[in-house]
């Protein structure tokens, strides 16, 4: 078990280094830089700006500089939002994206699991057909359409939610529903498949033979095994959902991190983009690690080495 932890930790360090290297080199390869702006500067001033962002140095020196600074935990000053350090941007945005994400996950898991279980238990019925059709639609429709429809319906036609913003419970509900819907649909489908698979296993037949009620069999014996694929799906999904969604954050004007992921690259905010990539890597890696751990808990046949 200890060896498992150590190996994973070393793996994380190595992964971070690879991600850092590849991302930074890609960033340095694209045209323009943080010094680019609508109004061009006289060459001497432009050179001065390049010097400020070290864009005048050969790539390996820039690489070493960024690596050394990031290793100390200081991710630098955002080149675009010049009043903030990258650490500050993350400290402000991550909790917001995360709380929106957790809320959305909550919806997704409750909705998805219930739908999946019902579908599996009443396989082939009208309920199964309806739920799975809805799930397919949920996966297929992009979130900006869902958000647009939700705003039209719940902000303008039946005005029960505010149009956008952050800070009150009412402002939280609509965006997290829109964000969670696609995940709910995915979870429903995976749960259904997992349940159907588990219900046909020998140990479930044994449980039935013992005279347990069908509900007991489903929830106590089939569900933990059926959860395995759901948990594998949730690991990376959680990392994604916690760091925010560009679309939802833009449409609902939510001050989370998601928007920065795209914007930092577009405006060549090297420091912020690198900081976010590293953050995402750590989160993704950690979530996958937790997924592996939970396998051991959910399925006694899995042993961690």
């Amino acid at each position: 078990m200890t060896w498992f932890f150590v190996r994973r930790l070393l793996g994380l360090v190595f992964t971070l280094w690879v991600v850092f290297t590849v991302s930074l080199l890609l960033m340095l390869a694209v045209p323009g830089g943080p010094y680019s702006a609508e109004r061009n500067l006289p060459p001497e001033l432009e050179a001065n700006f390049k010097h400020r962002y070290r864009s005048d140095l050969p790539w390996y020196q820039q690489y070493m500089f960024e690596l050394k600074r990031d290793l100390t935990g200081d991710l630098g000053i955002s080149t675009r939002m010049q009043d903030y350090t990258v650490n500050q941007v993350i400290a402000q945005g991550l909790p917001i994206s995360a709380s929106l994400g957790i809320f959305a996950l909550f919806f997704a898991i409750v909705l998805g699991l219930s739908a999946g279980i019902v579908s599996a238990l009443y396989r082939g019925s009208f309920a199964d057909f309806t739920l799975m059709s809805l799930a397919t639609v949920g996966i297929a429709i992009p979130s900006f359409v869902v958000a647009g429809l939700a705003i039209m319906l719940f902000v303008f036609v039946i005005p029960i939610f505010p149009a956008a913003g952050w800070g009150t419970l009412r402002q939280l509900i609509l965006p997290s529903l829109c964000l969670g819907l696609a995940y709910a649909a995915e979870i429903a489908r995976i749960t259904r498949t997992g349940m159907l698979d588990a219900l046909s296993q020998d140990y479930v037949r044994t449980a039935r033979a013992k005279g347990l009620s069908e509900l007991m069999v489903a929830l106590r014996h089939a569900l933990p095994t059926a959860m395995l694929p759901v948990v594998s799906y949730l690991g990376p999904a959680v990392a994604g959902i916690l760091t925010g969604s560009v679309v939802i954050e833009k449409i609902f004007a939510i001050p989370g991190l998601g928007w920065h992921f795209v914007q930092a690259a577009l405006v060549r905010d090297f420091t912020l983009a690198m900081g976010l990539v590293l953050l995402y890597t750590v989160l993704l890696y950690t979530m996958n690690f937790i997924v592996d751990l939970s396998y051991g808990i959910l399925d006694p046949r899995v042993e961690l080495k």
């Binding site: 045209p31 005048d56 903030y84 995360a98 909550f106 956008a164």
Partner: protein, 634 residues
């Protein structure tokens, strides 16, 4: 069952925590006035900022010698209560009001302005607006040390001790420049630095002793006998900024500049508080808990991509005339979201509604009482790369221009009442007669193209129209492609690039035809004309005409206003004949402002100082003539 139960409990706790966190901090008092301020402001440092969202905040926080009038954006008394201009228009003397205070209770003095102007010009500040200070005598030479000549008095700024905020200055030694020698830059490996200006070693005479300096960090290597320093600049006493006494400031200009006062009212010229800037360093000094300001509002809270909260300053000298107590500037990137917020009553002013919505709103009957598009000092045009055949032929450039039907573009693609443009300089610049290029005339265009050797467009290479990724630009480019195809028989293709790459392509002249727009910084033709001088940073067409350059220089030196305008008119005449650019349309402003908002006027520069805005509760929602905004522009 450990896994399932604990999982459910964990989820439940996480859910609760998420709600608690989300709702935490919502105890903000509601604002008296809130508006959507487009994108997150890059910075509130006046010297560093560029752009409208930044301006709306900065002019609420800081006040320059003058400030922008809400009715026409011209200079209005600010920190200075009186001023005199010498007869030759080159010396400005400002008398500061004695009751102006910083938010830390320090008085606002002439020293603050001298400090802030020096800071604006200092290359270590990295201001994009440093050139606003270049109207001052020797201002440009102070920023660009490559222009230093032997014999110039100089200041050598030594490197800062480690750990000292970079906003402070190192020890400054005053001396005389004896010689400057370019040094080889060893960064030849990076290909980007081809056109990099040389770095210098400066030989400076200090107290009768000769010393050699090179701008270098402690880690950089320097040749033997050369000392490291932060920078070598012109002695600031040579620059046209003079503190006569605590409340009197004299500014000397190189040329009589009729729009200089208006520049002083523009936000980059705002003063900053030295105590605050030097104490906290950058970027910490701009944080709400640290920042010291002298304007009508204080910044009390700021959350990234959420809002900047402004509260009326109780140290501002004219606080009695600031009517709003709490103002929220919301960062809302998406125009549709901003419109949703406006139409559900959550904001009082939306700067730009989405164009597809705008079109519908303008059709409403009776006309809306909160929307009144007005001409703006901004031109949309195409750059033509005059270094690329066949666009190096003037006849081809003219033909391309004459084959564009601007009326169709403003009718079909833009739709907010934009004005078809045949000149670079927008109409309604006071005292100026715009000079137009030839009108839409497909017949004549075909003839010109035939003369240039491409009858019916035969043999004309496929040309590419570059634009930055945006639906509106794409729609216009599509129309132009269609018009060129129909009217000239030539084929064009479209190329879109995201903003930074597009900028880069324009700068490298890596395009044939490219869209561009330019907003005037001040209400004078020069803000447009001086772009197209030979080698100008924003020329971006390869256009080079000694005659044009001379007209621009002569106009700058000309003290007589009428003659100066004539020279500028001649320059535009030349530009429109040579046609390195094709004007397409003039922008209109598109604010949506609630009927009870008063003190908000349509202006040429689309600026609306928040400090003059107030709420009139007596105005009814459907009053057809509710406020100043709905009146025709003066």
């Amino acid at each position: 069952m450990f896994g399932r139960t604990s999982f459910l409990v964990a989820m439940f706790i996480a859910g609760l925590a998420a709600v608690a966190w989300a709702v935490y901090g919502s105890h903000l008092e509601p604002a008296d006035f809130s508006f959507t301020n487009e994108t997150e402001v890059q910075t509130v440092d006046p010297a560093m900022a560029t752009g409208q969202p930044e301006m709306r905040i900065i002019q609420s926080l800081f006040e320059g010698l003058g400030r922008q009038s809400p009715t026409d954006t011209r200079f209005k008394a600010g920190a200075a209560e009186k001023w005199e201009i010498s007869d030759d228009g080159r010396v400005y003397t400002f008398h500061l009001r004695k009751n102006a205070k910083w938010s830390n209770d320090e008085p606002v003095t002439a020293h603050d302005f001298a400090y802030s102007l020096r800071r604006l010009l200092d290359p270590q500040t990295y201001s994009r607006y440093a050139y606003e200070g270049w109207y001052l005598v020797n201002g440009k030479k102070y920023t660009l040390s490559s222009q230093l000549e032997p014999g110039d008095p100089v200041e050598v700024e030594l490197n800062l001790a480690p750990g000292v905020p970079s906003t402070r200055r190192g020890e400054v030694l005053l001396g005389k420049l004896v010689r400057k020698t370019p040094v080889e830059t060893k960064s030849s490996e990076s290909a980007k630095t081809d056109d990099e200006p040389p770095k210098y070693i400066f030989d400076v005479e200090l107290d009768g002793k000769m010393r050699r300096f090179k701008a270098a960090d402690a880690t950089d290597s320097v040749p033997d006998g050369v000392e490291r320093c932060r920078q070598v600049l012109l002695d600031f006493r040579e620059v046209g900024v003079k503190v006569i006494d605590d409340y009197t400031l004299e500014l000397r200009l190189t040329n009589p500049t009729p729009y200089f006062l208006d520049l002083l009212a523009y936000y980059p010229m705002s003063p900053v508080n030295k105590t605050c800037v030097e104490k906290y360093g950058s970027p910490a000094w701009t944080q709400p808990q640290n920042i010291v300001t002298n304007g009508p509002f204080r910044m009390v809270a700021r959350r990234i991509r959420d809002r900047v909260r402004l509260v009326r300053s109780d140290t501002y000298w004219d606080r009695e005339n600031v009517k709003l107590n709490i103002v929220d500037a919301l960062s809302v990137e998406d125009r549709t979201t901003a419109f949703n917020l406006y139409s559900t009553g959550m904001v009082d002013w939306q700067t730009v509604p989405p164009s597809e919505v705008l079109r519908e709103l303008l059709k409403e009957k009776p006309p809306r009482n909160d929307l009144n598009p007005a001409p703006q000092l901004c031109t949309y045009y195409f750059l033509l790369n005059t270094t690329r055949p066949p666009l190096n032929d003037k006849r081809v450039r003219q033909a391309l221009s004459m084959a564009i039907d601007r009326d169709e573009i403003t009718r079909v693609a833009t739709g907010a009442g934009e004005i078809p443009a045949y000149s670079l300089i927008p109409p309604s610049v006071p005292g100026y007669h715009k000079q137009e290029c030839k009108p839409f005339d497909p017949e004549a265009a075909r003839k010109l193209l035939a003369e240039a050797g491409f009858p019916e467009g035969q043999g004309f290479p496929r040309i590419e129209i570059l634009y930055n990724t945006d639906q509106a630009h794409q729609a216009i480019a599509e129309l132009v492609r269609k018009q060129w195809q129909n009217n000239l028989g030539i084929t064009a293709s479209l190329r879109n690039e995201e903003w930074t790459s597009y900028q880069n392509s324009i700068q490298q002249l890596d395009f044939t035809v490219a869209r561009r727009s330019w907003v005037g910084d001040y209400q004078d033709p020069n803000t447009f004309s001086d772009m197209f001088v030979t080698g100008g940073e924003n020329n971006n067409t390869g256009f080079a005409s000694p005659e044009y350059d001379k007209l621009i220089v002569d106009a700058a030196k000309e003290p007589d206003r009428a003659k100066r305008m004539e020279l500028l008119e001649k320059s535009e005449r030349l530009l429109m004949d040579e046609q390195p650019i094709i004007p397409v349309y003039f922008y209109v402003s598109k604010n949506m402002v609630r009927p009870w908002v008063r003190g908000f006027y349509n202006t040429l520069q689309d600026t609306h100082p928040v400090q003059d805005i107030w709420i009139d509760h007596s105005v009814k929602k459907d009053d057809p003539h509710p406020n100043e905004y709905m009146e025709p522009m003066k």
